[in-house]
């Protein structure tokens, strides 16, 4: 659509972005509010950040969440990449329909259903719920997201490079590691990042899958938030927003740097 945007287009984008960003901006600004009353502005201050440093329960929860996210995102990336390969490269095999259904379902099904189902499984096989059950639950939730991203990338690329390697006697595993993997690396990295953020963010599934001693950050925040708005929570949220913003900026800078290098692959046929 080459024709320039009309004033109506510009207005709808502007309003849309304002709607998306103003609540977050307000949250960030009020985290620097000196007053304990969240609705009254009492001047700028960083006291809530200082108080946060003394909140051991919150810090513990953040540390648990971080470890869960690292482990589950890594596991989901391995499994999800294999699943993406399966969907694109394995053609029609028996059970393919079930397989793709199981990949897509976690992306859209309500979290309460998935959480309940996983919890009942953990009870049925009689494992103690805690850190590892949350890792398993998050891996299951996020591997589908990785699979879809990797699948989209694989569909768009030329197989002849791989075939050339194989024809020259390169074994399949080596072909995968030296030819395929570098080509799909950006998708794999994006998948890992998405899985990491989703795990860090999840409240519902973690609430079902967790047990004593494994309170994740969202569970901790939720239990505070239920009682109302608190300046400390504004501060926690601001830190999380800052971390995510830094991550996204770093990732986009990295991909910009990669783009500068010549890419030796012809585009999709």
């Amino acid at each position: 659509m080459r024709k320039g945007p009309s004033w109506l287009n510009i207005a709808s984008i502007g309003l849309g972005l304002a709607f998306l960003y103003i609540p977050i901006a307000i949250l960030v600004i009020y985290s620097f509010n000196a007053s304990r009353l969240v609705t009254l502005w009492g001047g700028w201050s960083t006291r809530w950040y200082a108080e946060l440093l003394n909140d051991d329960a919150m810090l513990d929860a953040a540390w648990i969440s971080l470890r869960v996210a690292l482990l589950s995102a890594s596991a989901a990336t391995v499994l999800g990449t294999l699943a993406g390969l399966t969907l694109v490269r394995m053609g029609r095999f028996r059970g393919r329909l079930l397989f793709s259904a199981m990949i897509y379902a976690p992306l859209i099904l309500p979290e309460v259903i998935i959480g309940l189902a996983l919890l009942l499984l953990f009870v049925a096989v009689d494992v103690d719920r805690g850190f590892w059950t949350v890792v398993i639950a998050h891996t299951t939730l996020t591997l589908g997201f990785v699979a879809v991203i990797v699948q989209a990338r694989l569909i768009g690329f030329d197989r002849s490079v791989e075939e050339a390697a194989m024809d020259l006697g390169c074994p399949p595993l080596r072909t995968f590691l030296t030819v395929t993997l570098p080509l799909i690396a950006p998708a794999v990295a994006a998948g890992w990042m998405l899985a990491f953020t989703l795990s860090l963010d999840d409240l519902v599934i973690a609430s079902f899958a967790t047990g004593p001693g494994a309170t994740t950050l969202p569970i901790r925040i939720y239990s505070e938030v239920r009682l109302g708005v608190k300046p400390e929570i504004n501060a926690v949220c601001t830190i999380m927003i800052a971390v995510v913003a830094l991550g996204v900026v770093a990732a986009s800078l990295l991909s910009k740097l990669r783009e500068v290098k010549p890419v030796p692959v012809p585009g999709p046929i």
């Binding site: 287009n9 984008i13 849309g16 949250l27 897509y104 859209i108 309940l116 499984l121 569909i155």
Partner: protein, 308 residues
């Protein structure tokens, strides 16, 4: 010749391993749990650990299996359909999901359309700006609205300063708050699929319509809207399905007098410890969502494989 066969077998084994690892994981942690949910939804609540009966006992053998099957019943489902609490909860969830999907469409389409008509260089940036809030926590975004919608919050302050209202209105714990929260949280999921189809649209079609004397609004209605349909339907499903089972938004922003089905399930499970009832609620919810979910999956596969 011999070497070639063994290489071929090796490749087949490697391929099998690639399929098997994610497949086994999903069967163990996705499919099996659902079968267990179905099984427990047919069980009875019990004051025991685990809190349901019958429990399948492998050591009892064939007789044990017979006892187990005899112990199953549809009582929980009968309860579900006779108690108006559940029925209203389902209907309310479907209604809220339908209305919010409509609101999302009304808001998302103009944004997607605007981005698609922006200069090429700007489009990528605008898309990133729409996705960016999605990367921050869902919980944080809902919480941000709690800040604004409180009785002495900024929305009331702003409306009173503008002279629109005289005294503070209650926003929090109302359906309006639920709709605001849902539209806010799901907006990127509506904008992106619509943008993806609009961006691929061949604009010479619009030029042709203009050359033939078709007014712009009519060309929009007759050309752009039908061509954007795949993205619009995908976006609507992507929002509708999870909204039906939404828990966090109605719990934090909505009132306590009427619950959405996600909250009902949560309460049955955590507060009432009635696991069989919670399982039955989940099974019925799944049945309600299976048709839109299958349509969505079908569209996704066609989209991805059509691109080949």
């Amino acid at each position: 010749m011999n070497g070639k066969i063994s290489a071929g077998t090796k490749r087949a084994w490697a391929a099998r391993l690639v399929v098997l690892m994610p497949y086994a994981w999903l069967i163990a942690f996705f499919l099996a749990p659902f079968l267990i949910v179905v099984k427990i939804s047919l069980s009875q609540t019990a004051m025991a650990q685990p809190p349901y009966l019958p429990v399948f006992d492998l050591s009892a053998g064939w007789a044990g299996l017979q006892d187990f099957v005899a112990g199953l019943s549809l009582d929980n489902y009968a309860l579900l359909f006779s108690d108006s609490l559940y029925v209203t909860s389902y209907l309310r969830s479907l209604q809220i999901a339908a209305i919010s999907t409509l609101l999302l469409l009304l808001m998302g389409f103009p944004i997607a359309y605007g981005i698609a008509r922006a200069p090429r260089r700007l489009q990528a940036l605008l898309v990133v700006l729409v996705i960016l809030p999605f990367w921050t926590s869902f919980l944080i975004r809902v919480y941000a609205w709690m800040n604004i919608l409180q009785r002495d919050g900024l929305l009331n302050d702003a409306l009173m300063a503008l002279g629109i209202i005289r005294e503070p209105t209650t926003w929090l714990a109302t359906d309006t708050a639920i709709y605001i929260g849902i539209v806010y949280s799901y907006l990127p999921f509506m904008v992106l699929p619509i943008y993806a189809t609009l961006e691929k649209m061949d604009e010479s079609l619009l030029e042709a319509a203009a050359d033939l004397g078709c007014p712009r609004w009519k060309a929009f209605w007759l050309v752009t809207v039908p061509l954007s349909l795949p993205g619009t339907v995908a976006g609507a499903l992507l929002c509708f399905i999870p909204i039906v089972g939404e828990f966090v938004i109605p719990d934090l922003l909505g009132g306590s007098e009427s619950m959405m089905i996600g909250q009902t399930l949560w309460t049955e499970f955590f507060a009432n410890r009635d696991w069989p009832a919670a399982s039955a609620v989940a099974v019925v919810l799944l049945c309600l969502l299976i048709v839109p979910a299958v349509i969505y999956q079908h569209m996704q596969t066609r989209e991805l494989e059509g691109a080949r």
